[in-house]
């Protein structure tokens, strides 16, 4: 039935499949660990919603795991999202302002 670490090999092969086929270099290890790290961070963020209602937290965590399997190389999107292109940063700030206006007009 294969050795204990066959699950690790499966995950590694699965993730390695998405990279541009470069040899296993130090930057590759960064991308892989970054990928798993982002997944766990997003799961913790989803778990935050248990403050409102417990089932909402559970549903969101499971949803995040399912979404991860669907668009797996999220690290590429993460890196593109963090690029310091001025318009991308301004876009996120406009979203920040929209949230403020929504809270204000909602009259919390």
């Amino acid at each position: 039935m294969g050795s204990i670490d066959s699950l690790y090999d499966k995950v590694k092969r699965y993730l390695l499949g998405f990279n541009r086929g470069k040899a296993y270099s130090s930057s590759m290890s960064g991308y892989m660990s970054g990928e798993l790290q982002t997944l766990v961070f997003i799961m913790v963020l989803a778990a935050f919603f248990r403050l409102f209602t417990i089932p909402l937290g559970i549903v969101l965590v499971i949803g995040v795991v399912a979404a991860f399997l669907y668009f797996t190389p999220i690290i590429v999107a993460m890196e593109r999202e963090n690029s310091s292109d001025l318009n991308r940063v301004l876009f996120w700030v406009v979203i920040y302002f929209a949230v403020i206006m929504a809270i204000t007009l909602w009259g919390l």
Partner: protein
Amino acid sequence: MTETVTNLWSIPLLLIIPILTAIVVNFLYGKVKAIRVVAILSSLALFAIAVISPYGYHWFTGQPAVLLNGGYTYSVQIFAWRLSLELYFGYMQQIMIAVMSLLLIFVVAISTKVMSKNMGTYIGLIFLIYMSSAAIIMVNDFYHLWIAVEIGSLLVAGLVAASGESISQKAALKYTFFSAISGAGLAIALALILGITGYPNVSDAIVSMHINNIQGMQGILYVAFGFLVLSWIYAGGLAPIHPLKSDVYGASFPHATVMLQTQSKLMLVAIGLIILRVFGTLPFAKEVMLGISVITMMVGVVMALLQTDFRWTLAYLIISHSGLVTVGISLGTISGIIGGMFQAINDVLYMSILLLCCEAIYYYGKGTSIKSVSGMAKKAPWLAFAAVVGAFAASGIPPFNGFQSEIILIQASLASGLPEVAVVILMVSVTTFIALFKSIYCIFLKADSTPETEQAQSRQGSIPVPKVLYLSLGVLIVLVVLIGVYPQLATDFLNDAAIKVVSMPWVP
């Protein structure tokens, strides 16, 4: 020392001496020796002032406070409307400015040794950045808060642009573009707070918000809170705006990044405490700040994993650890605020160790990318030791100071019923360890395989790292271990500031 001194002499000195030094150093443009002497002397003087100064206020408008029965008083014990623009120098301000002055001495000593061109303006900019962060940590009125943030962002752009490569000019341009939006936002927040409370002084504004009924003003308070948090994010480099700040850290000289990160940590603490004092009671205010700092921690540390250049790894780690600072402050509890401020001090210290090691590698001339530089442990063993100590302190390993502040933060977040925040803090410190040791392994521990480093290695045994860099690394390591073993050395200074913010927000 009990604090009854009004119009304290040390506060204006802490601001004027850096400005005077910047002017004098600019005049001595050519003469390197003279610049070095003037700069080191004035930074020693600043350190001495920060340590020996008594505690107290400095009222800019100079007129006494107005009592409720219409009389005037200079004493600060009894309650009175201050109606003045004031700066306050207390326990927390003392340790923050003392740590920053210590770093200023090291940065000035190293940069005068390392820098070759346009020395005068460069040192002047470093002193002005010191002045802007000293001003912001002592501020107790909105007007000076706004001026310090504006000047701070212009000086950051100047210092980054002074480091020469085109990537740093691009980073400076993007950062300055954004100062328009955050400066304009802060001006509008200032106007709204003034409109609601009628007082520019923070203490008076808080008192008038407690006394008068501001039920109808909830929406306006949120807009003012939003703009204030926007300038908090901009000055400190938090979640949505962190790419601009990480470019600034990555593109400037490592020894300049020591001052840049000190300035942004102090701005985070100062503006964070003012937001907590003024808007702490607003529903959802603390949750917004908590969300921003948790996202900053995550994004910063994940991006640090991806970098292949030691300088950029450190840049993203600084962003992630400033998220650690703000998560402590936005918890709002006394131990949370103490943990946040203590984390700011520790973070500044151990990041300076790592940045000075990065400076030595950069000074050695091969750049800091982990692909090109290797085998440094054989050439500079003490540098490898300092980098390992810095990495251990950054990832919170017991004998060093990172552990002490992270343990306070974890206990504070568990006490306020948020185990997820504790989980994120633990994961951030583990990932910091991974990211740092990836670079340290490639730069220091890996054998020297590439051929072109063969001739470089044969040229001389150990690399010509300036003595003064080893001296400052030694002092920093001693400080890191000292605070790691006796945390109360630093937390004694922070306790009363945290208690005042939570229980008596109208006292600065």
